[in-house]
């Protein structure tokens, strides 16, 4: 039979008819429609049993309680823990995005040893055994040569078991060089030490205060324990508490305050003394407290009355005298006034003068260790380990004196002066630093004058990072011994910054360790055992978990159950027992700080002719600038007037911009005596003319592509300025010039 055209067509028509009557086309159409709705490359999250684990957040020193929602063995959401004394259900955006750090690409997945040049990013994976023995050998060699003091540790904190294990290790090994990253807490500690004679942390009873005089503290920009501060701020909304914010820029705190008083930057101490002047002159102070519990008031009074009259203070601060007088009156007449300091998030200690001046205001109104006032909170003494047996070489090492000069003749009261380390290493005047451990800190990013810090690091032949994430410091280390992420480990979280009563949080493993990481506590114990002798003897525990459990004792069970240990209510001390100074009273003019005449503003870097403007940093809760940087979610929340593409914006008053011929969005070159940066201009009426503000927390070179390479690190543009009494970094800004780019 011949197949002609017609038969063929007929076959096709038959085929078409058959196909129409068969499910083929209809089913294919349906299936492809379904396929387009459910593209296989869109992930489908696995369902399972939901459970909740209580733990503590340690991404900042805020100490919030968290409840992590899990689906089977995956953590899917972090929420604030209800009924927690710090945050009661709320949580900040960094804490909320913690899972992006846990599961994120920035985790260091296994111990790494540098292969290429420092910072080149070439690593080889090594086993934990090799890693630990490499460290112990290096330390052993140093010790044999009698150079144990040349080993040092930069730690994010000196409280809690892990920092204390480091401290113990370093002591029994023979080095005094454990350096804590600095903050306003350093200044407060020193102030409490000098004026009240106590070794304690400041605790602010914000919830009961009704008039907050804030000298630039970013109450709702991340100062203190951020979530607690947000809650306190809302409490004042309900109770009618007043907040007066004194700072040169309209920060969120200033915008939310009852009154924003712009001030010439760096003149806060003068204003505090000016307010004191008015209070004394008008006899508005708490005479009972002053007469019975204070010392040196007459000298101080004379000094304040002589030199800080409202008119002269008005000239210095740029605030008119009537405002100063009114402010002083309302502060003194408030029923529970409270003055606080620490600019922005309080990452820089600031000058001691300023802190003591502000603290003196609290003393004037008699709210020391009183409801609604400021408390000296002694660290709860829960870490009681057996005494260390020191051998001769350890004792010899400990005699050498700290490299950063803390506790030296020059700075006898300071405990940690990390800001002085780069200069000490670079000048090499004292002794070299031969091995450096970094844990819970990212000094290559967070320390000012990045270039000098980098140079100092380059001089240290052996740098070990304990970071869970590939941060700037880990990138420039020789060895990375990655810690478990905070959601994978047990750890005690000491009392959060500024809490008036001690609360210890318990960080708990929410998920199994995701990678080949090890608890830093365990690494210290392993290291000690590898070193042998006295060092091993000082670490009798088999594991960190055992150590922690033993340390916490009866508290452990409660902490596992509740997630935290809260000490009984505020220890309201009688003023008789509050002060441990020589006089047993509150010291208005501590003799140790020298004569009152030294009370002068901090001179910042740069001369006025070459650098006509002032550069100040600003902090935002949406820009993490501590140990970790912004995870992707938090980056998403950053406004497009802060960052656009990879360009960061400076804030400039339209008047200043006009003088420089700069418009909104225009590129400009910012130069300070320390560094240069290309920035974009954002016109903002909320900043004083003559100032330039740049956000902290950007300009990372490490972490992931969502964060790295965006904007400028403020620390590249500023260097530390030593406070003459404390030696702490007192820089609040730097002189700068601005030109069209």
């Amino acid at each position: 039979m011949k197949i002609d055209r017609r038969s063929f067509l007929s076959f096709l028509i038959g085929g078409a008819a058959g196909t129409t009557l068969s499910p083929l086309t209809w089913k294919l159409m349906d299936d492809s429609a379904i396929w387009t709705q459910m593209w296989p490359w869109t992930p489908v999250p696995e369902d399972g049993e939901a459970s909740y684990v209580n733990s503590a957040c340690s991404l900042c020193s805020g100490g919030c309680g968290i409840t992590v929602r899990k689906i089977d063995d995956r953590a899917v959401k972090i929420e604030g823990m209800k009924e927690h004394p710090v945050n009661n259900g709320g949580l900040c955006l960094l804490g909320l995005s913690g899972l992006q750090l846990l599961y994120g690409p920035t985790r260091v997945r296994t111990p790494l040893k540098r292969v290429g040049k420092r910072g080149q990013g070439r690593w080889e994976k090594i086993s934990w055994k090799d890693a630990v023995s490499e460290v112990s050998e290096t330390l052993g060699e140093l010790r044999e040569k009698g150079q144990s003091h040349t080993a040092g540790i930069i730690s994010g904190s000196d409280r809690g078991t892990v920092p204390r294990l480091f401290d113990r290790f370093l002591t029994v090994y023979g080095s005094p060089n454990l350096m804590r990253t600095s903050s306003i807490i350093d200044s407060y500690e020193l102030t409490l030490h000098l004026m009240q004679g106590v070794q304690a942390l400041p605790g602010f009873d914000f919830e009961n205060a009704d008039f907050i005089l804030s000298f630039g503290s970013g109450i709702i920009d991340g100062w203190g324990s951020p979530v607690r501060m947000f809650r306190a701020n809302s409490t004042w909304c309900n109770t009618g508490g007043k907040v007066i914010q004194i700072e040169p820029r309209l920060s969120n705190t200033a915008a939310k305050s009852d009154k924003w008083i712009p001030i010439n930057p760096g003149t806060e101490a003068s204003l505090a003394l000016g307010i004191a002047h008015v209070i004394i002159k008008e006899s508005l102070y708490d005479a009972g407290f002053i007469n019975y519990y204070s010392e040196g008031f007459e000298d101080w009074k004379r000094f304040v009355l002589d030199e800080y009259g409202p008119d002269s203070v008005a000239t210095v601060t740029g605030i008119d005298s009537t405002t100063i007088i009114a402010l002083a009156r309302s502060f003194a007449r408030a029923s529970k006034p409270l003055a606080i300091c620490g600019r922005g998030q309080g990452t820089t200690p600031g000058s001691l003068n300023e802190c003591t001046a502000v603290h003196a205001l609290n003393a004037l109104v008699g709210n020391i260790n009183k409801k609604g006032g400021i408390f000296a909170v002694a660290e709860p003494d829960y870490i009681n380990w057996p005494e260390i047996e020191m051998d001769d070489s350890a004792a010899a090492g400990m005699q050498k004196g700290r490299l950063d000069g803390a506790g030296s003749k020059k700075y006898p009261f300071s405990r940690h002066l990390l800001n002085r380390l780069p200069q000490a290493v670079n000048s090499g005047e004292k002794y070299p630093l031969k091995a450096l451990f970094v844990a819970g800190a990212n000094p290559l990013y967070t320390m000012s004058d990045s270039k000098a810090v980098k140079k100092a690091f380059d001089k240290v032949p052996f740098v070990v990072s304990f970071s869970s994430y590939m941060d700037e410091t880990a990138q420039n280390a020789d060895l990375i011994l990655p810690n478990h992420a905070y959601l994978e480990r047990y750890e005690d979280i000491p009392t959060p910054a500024g809490m008036p009563k001690p609360v210890i949080g318990l960080s708990r493993p929410v998920v199994e360790p995701q990678f080949n990481t090890k608890h830093t506590g365990d690494v210290i114990i392993l290291l000690a055992k590898a070193m042998g002798g006295n060092i091993a003897d000082a670490f009798a525990w088999n594991s960190y978990d055992e150590c922690l459990k033993e340390t916490l004792g009866y508290k452990w069970r409660v902490m596992v159950e509740k997630g935290f240990w809260s000490y009984p209510d505020i220890f309201v001390q009688t003023h008789e027992k509050s002060f441990d100074t020589v006089s047993g009273k509150f010291e208005f003019a501590p003799k140790e700080t020298g004569s009152l005449k030294q009370f002068k503003p901090v001179n910042i870097e740069g001369d006025k002719t070459n650098y006509p403007l002032l550069l100040i940093p600003y902090d935002s809760i949406r820009l993490a600038n501590g140990v970790v940087g912004d995870p992707p979610f938090v980056m998403k929340s950053v406004d497009d007037t802060v960052l656009k593409g990879t360009d960061v914006f400076i804030e400039l008053n339209p008047k200043t911009a006009g003088e420089h011929g700069l418009r909104e969005g225009q590129l400009a070159m910012l130069s300070t005596p320390v560094g240069k940066a290309r920035v974009k201009v954002h016109l903002f009426d909320g900043i004083m003319p003559g100032l330039v503000a740049l956000p902290r927390g950007l300009g990372h070179t490490a972490f992931d592509d969502y964060l790295a390479g965006k904007g400028i690190n403020f620390n590249e543009l500023i260097g530390p300025v030593e406070d003459s009494v404390s030696g702490l970094d007192a820089a609040w800004g730097i002189r700068v010039k601005l030109a069209k780019a």
Partner: protein, 267 residues
């Protein structure tokens, strides 16, 4: 002569032929019919049958890949052992969610050690129980990610039984082959065993229409619980637009569809 010329000639010839046929159309037509009616119909039938065979028999075989469950499971045996029927293993959690296929944790109570001598049992204990690995069961009734289905609402509130949707799987002695749609990746039990979409039992298919069917039937007297497919809704909607008030729309919680709001079942 070039090929082009050849072509031109052919075309001319065709045109000529055409001219002839049109001159006496009737006779020519008849002749042609006589000459090829048989084969033409035959070929039509060939085509028809070939495509029907392709569509009804070959296509389904090509469309679905056949997968064996990692190990076999005897429901009958287990139902006899437990007290609460299906809910002994497929239970509700306290938060109202449904556990679905049991986890190893539940099996381990009895299967710590090998029970009996079936090869699947040995494999189960050796491969999964002792290694602590979950069995990667292929789930016949797994709905797409866009579907939210509340077992609690259907079982605890409406009092439905398992069989209505899942059929008599509880009475099976072994697990059937899992057929996966190569395009969508979903189980054949969702779209239905019959490739033509014919359905004898309520559990034969688990598509949106099937939910709708049951909701309309079983809950006709209850307000605001109707479900309709978006397509039907769209038609209703269009009717509403053109001839307002004439569509047979019921009373639903959704203003737009006048049925239940879409996200009651979709996420």
């Amino acid at each position: 002569m070039s090929a082009l010329d050849n072509n031109a000639k052919e075309i001319a010839k065709d045109a000529g032929d055409e001219g002839v046929t049109t001159s006496s159309p009737e006779i020519n037509q008849k002749e042609q019919d006589n000459r090829s009616a048989g084969p033409v119909i035959l070929f039509f039938i060939f085509g028809l049958f070939a495509s029907l065979i392709l569509g009804w028999i070959i296509f389904p075989k090509l469309l679905y890949s056949k997968k064996k469950q990692p190990i076999d499971f005897n429901h009958v045996l287990h139902v006899a052992e437990v007290e609460d029927g299906c809910e002994s293993c497929h239970f509700f959690r306290e938060d109202g969610t449904y556990s679905g296929v049991p986890k190893l944790e539940q099996c381990i109570d009895c299967h710590e050690e090998i029970q009996g001598d079936s090869p699947d049992e040995i494999k189960f204990v050796e491969e999964y129980v002792s290694k602590g690995r979950e069995v990667p069961w292929l789930i016949y009734s797994r709905q797409p990610d866009c579907v939210f289905f509340s077992h609690a609402a259907h079982v605890k509130v409406a009092g439905m039984d398992c069989v209505t949707c899942h059929g008599h799987i509880g009475e099976s002695e072994s697990l059937k082959i899992y057929e996966e749609n190569r395009i969508t990746g979903y189980s054949r039990d969702i779209w239905g065993k019959s490739i033509g979409g014919f359905k004898k039992n309520t559990w034969d298919r688990m598509k949106m229409d099937d939910c709708a069917e049951c909701h309309q039937e079983k809950t006709a007297n209850i307000e605001r619980t109707d479900v309709k497919t978006p397509t039907n809704r769209l038609i209703d909607h269009l009717i509403d637009v053109v001839y307002p008030g004439t569509s047979k729309s019921g009373k639903g919680s959704s203003i737009q569809t006048e049925r239940d709001a879409c996200f009651v079942c979709h996420k």
